[in-house]
Structures are given as structure tokens and as C-alpha cells.
């Protein structure tokens, strides 16, 4: 267990990857969004205004997930760390940073509610259907969203590391084809109404739990790939 915890310290050597770039992405997206809200508000628009800028650091988590594997797995092997220790320690690191990011989002949402969107009815962190479940539900939603991005990046990187670029591309294309096929199937069965109703019934908490299930599946499957990967 001690060695697994040490993997966290090994991962956090990448200050730039885990700390500075996410902070810059988040801070930058926040500043730009507020500036745009300011321009719109000064033009006399009453809002409420919502923007997608808060997604930026979440997308970056996919990059972090990929780099956690490609940059640090070879070194972990030279430190005589087992693949299992590396796998668990790396996901603990991800959980730690995702928890921190989710905390910023949850608290940011509360602040925006309290200040009525920075006094100009513009929202960056606050999403009504997420935050209305309470700060804990909002935190869990953002935590699992960040984890999902991380785990997906890591999962792709293990396939790349073990099988190479061609196989990774083929797998990603395969997934895209399956998704398109599903869309076609839903349209064919004229089931969009049912799908919409099901999504509505899940609510943000329900979707969060489905997300956690997907995260667990991806973590387990990337472990099976990593078990035979070579640095």
C-alpha cells in the first residue's frame, strides 16, 4: 500500500500537467467568460447567461489521463513498481485532483447563486439541473465528469502503449461507428421520445451514477490492457 501511495507522489512530480495547466485553463476560461458576460450585460441584456467555458478544464483531464500513462509508466517500471501499484496509484492521483476541481465547481456554483451570477446574471459554474440537487450532488457530478475524461484518456493511452497507433485509431473508430449505429437504431424505432423521457427520469444524480459505472468499466478494462504492456 505504501508503494501505491508513493505512486501518487511520483505522478505529482508532473506539476505542470496536474496543477499549472489545469489552473491556467480554468482561470483563463473563467476570465474570458466573465468578460463576455460583462460586454453582453453592458449592452443591456438581462440574462440569465450560461456558457460552455467551464467544460475546458474537464476536457483537459483526458489529456492528463493519457499523459499519466505515457510519461510516467516507463519511469515507474524503472522504480520496480508493479503494474497494479501503478494503476491504482495513478487513479488515486486522478481522484484527488478531480475531487479538488469538483470542489471549485461546487463552491463556485454556490457563490454564483448567492451573488445572482456575479451581479450580472451570468453563470460559469452553476448549471440549474445539476446544482439544484444541492452542493454535494453537484460536487459528485463534476467529480465523475472529470474522472470520466481522465479514465477515457488513460484507457486510450494503454491501448496505444500496448498495441500502437493503428489499433487505437481502429478502436476509436469502432466506438464511433457503434454510437452512430445506436443513433440510427433509435431513429429507426422512433424511440427518441422514450430515450428523452428516460434521460429526464434519471436526473443529474442518476446520470452521475451511470457515469460512475462507465468509469469502473473503463478502469477495469485498461488494467487488463496494462497488465501486458511494455514500457
Amino acid at each position: 500500500m505504501n508503494r501505491t501511495l508513493n505512486v501518487i507522489r511520483m505522478q505529482l512530480v508532473n506539476r505542470q500537467t496536474y496543477l499549472w495547466v489545469p489552473v491556467i485553463v480554468l482561470g483563463g476560461a473563467f476570465a474570458i467568460t466573465l468578460a463576455i458576460y460583462g460586454i453582453i450585460a453592458s449592452a443591456g441584456v438581462e440574462g440569465p447567461m450560461y456558457g460552455g467555458g467551464a467544460q475546458a478544464p474537464l476536457w483537459y483531464f483526458a489529456v492528463v489521463g493519457a499523459q499519466a500513462l505515457t510519461l510516467t509508466f516507463p519511469f515507474s517500471q524503472a522504480m520496480s513498481v508493479t503494474r497494479r501499484e501503478f494503476h491504482i496509484g495513478t487513479h488515486l492521483t486522478a481522484a484527488l485532483t478531480a475531487a479538488l476541481l469538483a470542489l471549485i465547481f461546487a463552491v463556485g456554483g454556490l457563490v454564483e447563486q448567492a451573488t445572482s451570477g456575479w451581479g450580472m446574471n451570468g453563470y460559469f459554474f452553476y448549471i440549474p439541473w445539476v446544482s439544484d440537487g444541492g452542493p454535494a450532488a453537484a460536487w459528485l457530478f463534476f467529480f465523475s465528469l472529470a474522472m470520466l475524461f481522465f479514465v477515457f484518456g488513460y484507457w486510450g493511452a494503454t491501448i496505444f502503449k500496448r498495441f500502437g497507433t493503428a489499433v487505437l485509431t481502429a478502436v476509436l473508430l469502432g466506438i464511433a461507428l457503434i454510437l452512430v449505429g445506436l443513433l440510427w437504431l433509435v431513429g429507426r424505432l422512433e424511440a427518441w421520445a422514450q430515450v428523452g423521457a428516460w434521460l429526464g427520469a434519471q436526473g443529474s444524480l442518476g446520470l452521475t451514477l451511470w457515469g460512475l459505472l462507465l468509469i469502473a468499466v473503463l478502469i477495469a478494462s485498461s488494467y487488463l490492457t496494462l497488465r501486458r504492456a511494455v514500457p
Binding site: 508503494r3 507522489r9 510519461l71 497494479r84
Partner: protein, 309 residues
Amino acid sequence: MTTVIEVKNLTKRYRDTLAADDVSFSIEKDTIYGLLGRNGAGKTTVMSILTAQNFATSGEVRIFGENPYENAHVLSRMCFVRESQKYPDDATPRHAFRIARLFYPHWDQELADQLIDEFQVPMKKTIKKLSRGQLSAVGVVIGLASRAEITFFDEPYLGLDAVARQIFYDRLLEDYSRHPRTIILSSHLIDEVSNLLERVIVIDKGRIIMDEETDAVRGRAANIVGDTAAVDAFVAGREVIHRESLGRVSSVTILGELTAEDLSLLTRAGLDVAPVSLQQLIVRTTQHAGRTAGDAERAASDIDEGALR
């Protein structure tokens, strides 16, 4: 003697090459081994399979009697920093050493500090910006200061200048005599490391062509120099691994120990005996094996079983 590494019938096949071809050998505790061979002979592959970084196609590896794969108990007693080691993107040597200290239970910080000073490792530069020699120095510091029970050095001198290489050899011997452990040094600069080595394992095209004590190897061959006709008469019927001629003078390298009778025969014929350096011997054995490999199993098995064993 205690065996710490036991390899049986190890084969590693890449798409069209055999990096290890039915290799068997064992490594004894507290001994310095040289794993010698040309670039691409399979040295790094064998070491990375022993440390469970890579996987064998077939065969068996036992470290301290156990399978090393995903075995933290066994792995934490071994250290293998490869020649082309990758480090975390933002890592500086300071980070790398701090992490190594976390994972290696016998890490000696004092020794690490001394080596960092002697090799002049820049501690605050990111590792990806280091020169080849500085990169090698980082690996050497980790390898020595980790004091792992089995330590692999993979061409550790690459890019190091002569002074730094001598520091490495001196510190290795010094620390080894104070803290005996098993050291496996892969190298193609054979003469430079030959004084360190107690045993040599020579690997060529994925096969082991020599596994012997260094001193015994040195006595196994000799250069016979003198008049071509006299040299030819003397070497007739012996295993010749190399021949050079200039005018009427020939220098022929033969395998096999020279007896007292041989020596008096040589004196009478007016021939000189010159010692063969380990490097010469290995180079010529390797070339010899390469030449004869084509024309039958017989010649190769002569080398394996006859002359060298």
C-alpha cells in the same frame, strides 16, 4: 554459492527476429557479471524480461526463487534503469532521485549526494534537456545509490567522458566491496569494464556463446605470432578463431590453453605468444560463430561444447 537468478529456455520472438533464442543461465549472489555482446544482440531484452518489464515468448525466469511478474516483494529488491530510460515529463534529476529514494528500501542518500557532486549532475534542469552523458549519470546514480540486491547497468557509460567513466568504475567497486550485491553490467566496451567483471556472459544474436569466469576466459586463447609456415605448423589441428598475415609474418588466435609442452614447442619454433584481451577474444569468438553459423550446426556446437566449455 546461492543462485539469485535462474533462467531456463528463455525465448523472446519479435515479429521477424529472435531477441533471445532458448537461453538458459543462472546468476550467483554477490558477483559482478558482464553481459556482453554487440548492439542488438539481445542484452537489453534479456534484462527487461528478468525485471518483468517485458515478457518472454516462452521459457521460465526465477528471481530469488520466484516469478518476478507483478511481484512487489521480488521487484523491490532489483533495480534496472535502462539505457534509453524515460522519465516523467517535468521531472528534474532532483525529482527522480527523490522518487527513487521512496521506492528503494536500501537507498543511500549520502552516496547519492557524493555521486551527484562527482558527476556534476545538474539538479534543476528537466531531464529531457540533459545531455546524453548527464542522462547516463542520472541512471548511474540511481543504480548505485539504490543498493538493490540485484542491480542492472545497461550500457551505463554512454556519453560519459573518460573521467566520469573512471569515477563510475571506482565507485562501483568501492561500494560493491563494502556492500556486496549482484551486479549485471551490460556493455560493448569490453576491455574497459573487463577488470571489474568476475564472470562474463556473452550473448550474440539472442544466443549465449560464452558463460564463464573472466580469468578462465583470458587463459583460453592466445595469439601465436611469427613466421607464417611455423605458425601454420603449430596451429594445425587447433581451433583457430582469427588470422592476420603481413608478408611472411602471421598472427593467429587459437582457442585452448597452452600446455608446458606447447610452450617449449613454441620456443623451439621461434614463435611468440601474445596475450589476447577479453575484447579481442570475444570479438573473434563472435565473428567466428557468425561465420560458421551458416555452414552447419556442427561448427557452432564445437564452440559451445568443445572449446569454450
